[in-house]
């Protein structure tokens, strides 16, 4: 039997009230269409989301854990820096990258914006410069923008609306036997 594992995907969900896509976890799927479907079934069962992004896990580059202190502390000192965005000539082969920041250990990575860079190192450097001065980050993820797969906007009804009236999925739905209150 073929024991090949399906590739791993990271899932990012934007909630109704939320402005950013937040990392919620990972899952296995054969391709991105199915990863979006799986994400819908696994991570939006209790009305958590209005938009899903999936990214194949191996496409995500993270700031080296050992560099964490240097990466973020240096930003603290360079208070003269201001977020500056400049348009680069296309000849430079810059591609667009998305940046995710974990602002505190234990919290999830949150999408904060995008930038142009020629490679991973530059993307992480630029993310450090552009996005960690106001946010006390402990970890940066960068991913090439074209690696993000989002659900189609016209699928929103079918993906998310059915969860609205499934109140039985909420913990408050269950009335526990009286004896359990004594536990």
């Amino acid at each position: 039997m073929n024991q090949k594992e399906w590739p791993l995907w990271e899932v990012f969900i934007r909630s109704k009230q939320g402005l950013n896509h937040k990392h919620v976890g990972s899952l296995h799927a054969v391709d991105y269409d199915m990863a979006i479907e799986n994400a819908r079934d696994v991570y939006t069962r209790r009305m958590e989301g209005v938009s899903i992004w999936v990214i194949e896990s191996n496409q995500i580059h993270t700031s080296e854990p050992n560099d964490q202190v240097a990466l973020f502390e240096s930003a603290n000192q360079k208070i003269y820096k201001h977020p500056t965005f400049y348009n680069l000539p296309e000849e430079l082969n810059h591609t667009m990258w998305e940046v995710f920041i974990q602002s505190k250990q234990g919290l999830n990575h949150k999408h904060v914006g995008s930038l142009y860079a020629v490679d991973v190192d530059m993307a992480i450097e630029t993310a450090r410069d552009g996005y960690t001065r106001s946010i006390e980050g402990v970890s940066i993820w960068v991913v090439q923008s074209n690696q993000i797969h989002a659900n189609e906007p016209d699928e929103q009804d079918a993906l998310f609306e059915p969860a609205q009236d499934k109140t039985y999925r909420h913990p408050t739905f269950y009335i526990l036997p009286l004896e359990l209150n004594h536990m």
């Binding site: 399906w6 899952l27 296995h28 054969v30 269409d33 479907e37 799986n38 819908r40 079934d41 079918a158």
Partner: protein
């Protein structure tokens, strides 16, 4: 048949389709090929049970007296069930499960679309709610048909076999029972003759994408709509009804 009898019989047909398929899919719970698909299929199962509940509730309301959604769902015997033979067919493997779901989803989608125009307010509102769920089910099973058909040699062969085996049960979708014909005349039912070309086109499109051939009809199996079921249904009911029969009125 008088109006009320036709309506009750028609509602049972709709509800039983969803409940029996929901029960079949629920058999996968804890046995899915991968965690994500285990959850996906049980979600679909719960959607189908949700739709069936709404319909059984409506039946209970029309019948009045001591009738409840549970008594309608659990206390009938095989001959009183009105579901399609297709939905009671066993899971066998993932390919059979997907093909069964796909055939039903295409049908269910167009059926619910039509029922959004029913002249019965209850049926209409149930259909509007279900349609959103069906839309997702159809997408889900279509994607799987494509991936199994256009996947590996083994997956292609498996789904081809399932496709040909279950094909015999699809003609029943478009063979109207007396109840269905009357339900259309009375304005609350869906016209399966209008659904047929839509169903065939959608199935053709997906099978083409899946590099599978549209099967030829060799044998046709009918009878579920009027209570003449395959031996499968008895086993499903034995498992599903055991608790209510052994402990009448049990709640949890």
């Amino acid at each position: 048949m008088e109006h009320q009898t036709i309506k009750l019989d028609y509602l049972l047909h709709l509800a039983d389709n969803s409940m029996i398929l929901g029960q079949r899919n629920a058999e996968w719970c804890g046995h899915g090929p991968i965690l994500e698909q285990d959850i996906a299929l049980t979600n679909i199962s719960l959607d189908l049970f949700g739709e069936a509940r709404n319909l059984y509730n409506y039946i209970a309301k029309l019948k009045g007296g001591n009738t409840t959604e549970d008594s309608v769902a659990f206390l009938r015997d095989v001959l009183e069930y009105r579901n399609l033979l297709l939905v009671e067919q066993p899971n066998i493997d993932w390919a059979y499960t997907i093909v069964r779901q796909f055939f039903f989803d295409v049908f269910h989608f167009y059926q619910m679309t039509a029922l959004c125009q029913s002249n019965d307010e209850h049926i209409r509102s149930i259909a509007i709610k279900s349609l959103k769920e069906c839309t997702y089910h159809l997408k889900w099973s279509s994607e799987w048909v494509i991936r199994l058909g256009d996947g590996t040699e083994v997956s292609h062969q498996k789904i081809k076999t399932a496709l040909e085996d279950l094909w015999d049960y699809t003609s029943e979708l478009f063979t109207p029972s007396e109840t269905e014909t009357k339900a259309v005349e009375l304005g609350f039912g869906a016209d399966i003759f209008l659904i047929k070309p839509l169903w065939e086109q959608k199935v053709k499109d997906i099978l083409t994408e899946a590099t599978l051939e549209y099967p030829e009809t060799k044998y046709t199996q009918n009878g579920g709509k009027t209570g003449l079921h395959s031996e499968q249904l008895g086993f499903i009911l034995a498992e599903m009804q055991f608790l209510q029969r052994a402990y009448p009125g049990a709640e949890w």
